[in-house]
């Protein structure tokens, strides 16, 4: 590959220092995510999937090892610089959506753009386009409490895409949804990948895993299959 990977983890470990005994969530994990890749991460509950995703998404930092986002070492960045990276370079979708309850769907999608300093007119165009993309143009004025789970997750995906990240990380995006609404989300991720965004999705859902081009299997804080 001539292009640098979008994100790369080198010998990454994450230990949570707990009162009783430290918990090793990740131990010596190495992985590269190339531009435009579609990766699914599977494994039993508690094996470290979320922790890996948080570290790849600069939400968390490893106890040891290096994370490089577009060849920049995340470990040497300040908290504010990592925040900027999350805002502009990486989209994150959580199992529990984490939309802002007092904002409408439109405002939730517009917020990261405003924070990134996108001009008002561009913001408006982009927000309309994104809500259209996730099929919620008619629900723009609705607050999260007025939306179904599937709709909230679609708003969350639109928000994650707001600043045109080259990488989308999704942690069990269908975990709280029934099969049919989950299907919508899968279709959306598929389309997103086709449009050129690299997607890493953590899932228990075989249907989601089946769509991905690479499958990573984790166990006890390590990638046991699919790492390359």
């Amino acid at each position: 590959m001539t292009q640098p990977p979008i994100v790369e983890a080198r010998h990454v470990s994450r230990v949570f220092p707990m009162a009783a005994a430290p918990v090793t969530a990740l131990s010596d994990v190495s992985i590269r995510i190339e531009a435009g890749e579609y990766v699914a991460v599977v494994g039993p509950s508690g094996c470290g999937k979320s922790t890996l995703l948080h570290i790849l998404g600069c939400v968390d930092v490893p106890t040891s090892g290096d994370v490089l986002v577009q060849d920049r070492n995340v470990g040497s960045l300040s908290d504010a610089e990592r925040s900027r990276l999350r805002l502009r370079e990486i989209g994150f979708v959580f199992q529990r959506f984490f939309l802002l309850p007092m904002l409408t769907a439109w405002e939730n999608v517009e917020l990261p753009q405003a924070e990134a300093g996108v001009a008002r007119l561009d913001r408006r165009r982009r927000t309309a386009e994104l809500l259209e993309y996730v099929g919620l143009a008619s629900r723009a004025a609705h607050r999260p409490s007025e939306l179904s789970g599937g709709e909230m997750q679609r708003v969350a995906i639109a928000r994650a895409l707001a600043n045109r990240p080259r990488l989308l990380l999704a942690d069990e995006p269908t975990g709280e949804l029934d099969q049919r609404t989950g299907g919508h989300i899968i279709t959306l991720l598929d389309r997103l990948h086709e449009d050129g965004t690299a997607v890493v999705v953590v899932t228990h859902d075989v249907a989601v895993a089946a769509c991905a081009h690479r499958l990573l299997t984790m166990r006890d804080g390590q990638i046991v299959e699919g790492s390359s």
């Binding site: 948080h54 939400v59 968390d60 908290d79 504010a80 925040s83 900027r84 990276l85 999350r86 805002l87 502009r88 994150f92 959580f94 529990r96 984490f98 939309l99 802002l100 309850p101 007092m102 917020l111 990261p112 924070e115 990134a116 928000r159």
Partner: protein, 291 residues
């Protein structure tokens, strides 16, 4: 120097005032010769007196050795915070009249007992120099400007210290309450703060937002507090002026008091919001949304 007209003040106790009776027609009085007297507004009202009325004054509660005076006018007594609870039933006489009324004929020297007089100066700023001058020329007299602290103010110093103590306890209590309230508010917003951090808002950015909000709330709160105090000041003064029938001002919100309130309230409010929001911001964003 302008001739200073000295009125002697007779502070009549209620019993003395009872001895005062409006002259009846049965007692022929040489009206033309009756000396003039000024009567306090309160005494005018309570005895239904009028200007031009003839009254008998006596220094003796039984009414003995009374003399007749003509009421030339009413005056509003200078409010005295030491005596506001007593009705100001008073009259002002010319000094010779007062001496004639209160003196003991059998002991002329005993009549000469004026314990204090007030002197109004053309230029009040001369008060210090004048007082010093009087003290050196008349050894044994105590002369002091009315603006200087007098021993009677001791009571007020104690009250003031008491007020300061109450104010400090109140401020401390409300600051703790405010902080607890902000903690609760902020804690309720921990999901929001966590989500903003996950999206990519920096700590500094959120702190600034909270500080801006805190400043607005503190400013509105301060303005409300001052406005409330100003309104209450009028109501409070009017009630107690009515209650004690005095012109005394009980409560005064001075610019100094306003400035002090602003200087205390604004930084306290801002500090409370800063401390409260920092308790959230120092935590990991995932810990904020996970609860």
């Amino acid at each position: 120097m302008r001739r200073t007209r000295i009125w002697a003040l007779v502070a009549m106790a209620l019993s003395a005032a009872v001895a005062l009776t409006a002259a009846s027609a049965a007692q022929p009085i040489e009206a033309g010769e009756a000396p003039g007297v000024l009567v306090s507004r309160q005494l005018m009202e309570s005895r239904a007196l009028g200007i031009g009325d003839l009254v008998r004054l006596s220094a003796d509660p039984t009414g003995g050795r009374s003399r007749t005076f003509r009421i030339l006018g009413a005056y509003e007594p200078t409010p005295d915070p030491m005596r506001f609870a007593q009705p100001a039933l008073e009259a002002r006489l010319h000094l010779p009249d007062l001496l004639a009324l209160s003196g003991n004929p059998s002991d002329p020297s005993a009549s000469d007992t004026v314990s204090s007089i007030n002197v109004a100066l053309v230029n009040p700023a001369d008060a210090d120099a004048f007082a010093r001058d009087v003290s050196t020329r008349l050894p044994g007299t105590v002369a002091r400007p009315t603006s200087a602290p007098d021993d009677r103010a001791g009571t007020f110093l104690v009250i003031e210290r008491f007020h300061l103590a109450i104010a400090s306890v109140t401020m401390l209590g409300s600051a703790v309450f405010l902080l607890a309230l902000m903690m609760m508010l902020v804690d309720e917003r921990s999901d929001v703060v966590g989500t903003l951090r996950l999206i990519g808002f920096t700590r500094r950015r959120i702190l600034m937002q909270v500080l801006a909000e805190g400043t607005c709330i503190a400013a509105v709160g301060t303005a409300f507090g001052i406005g409330f105090a100003l309104i209450m000041q009028g109501a409070f003064n009017r009630f107690f002026q009515w209650r004690y029938d005095t012109a005394l001002v009980f409560l005064r919100i001075t610019p100094g008091v306003v400035a002090q309130s602003i200087l205390l309230a604004l930084p306290l409010g801002i500090a409370a919001s800063a401390i409260a929001s920092w308790t959230l911001l120092r935590r990991h964003p995932l810990a904020l949304v996970r609860r």
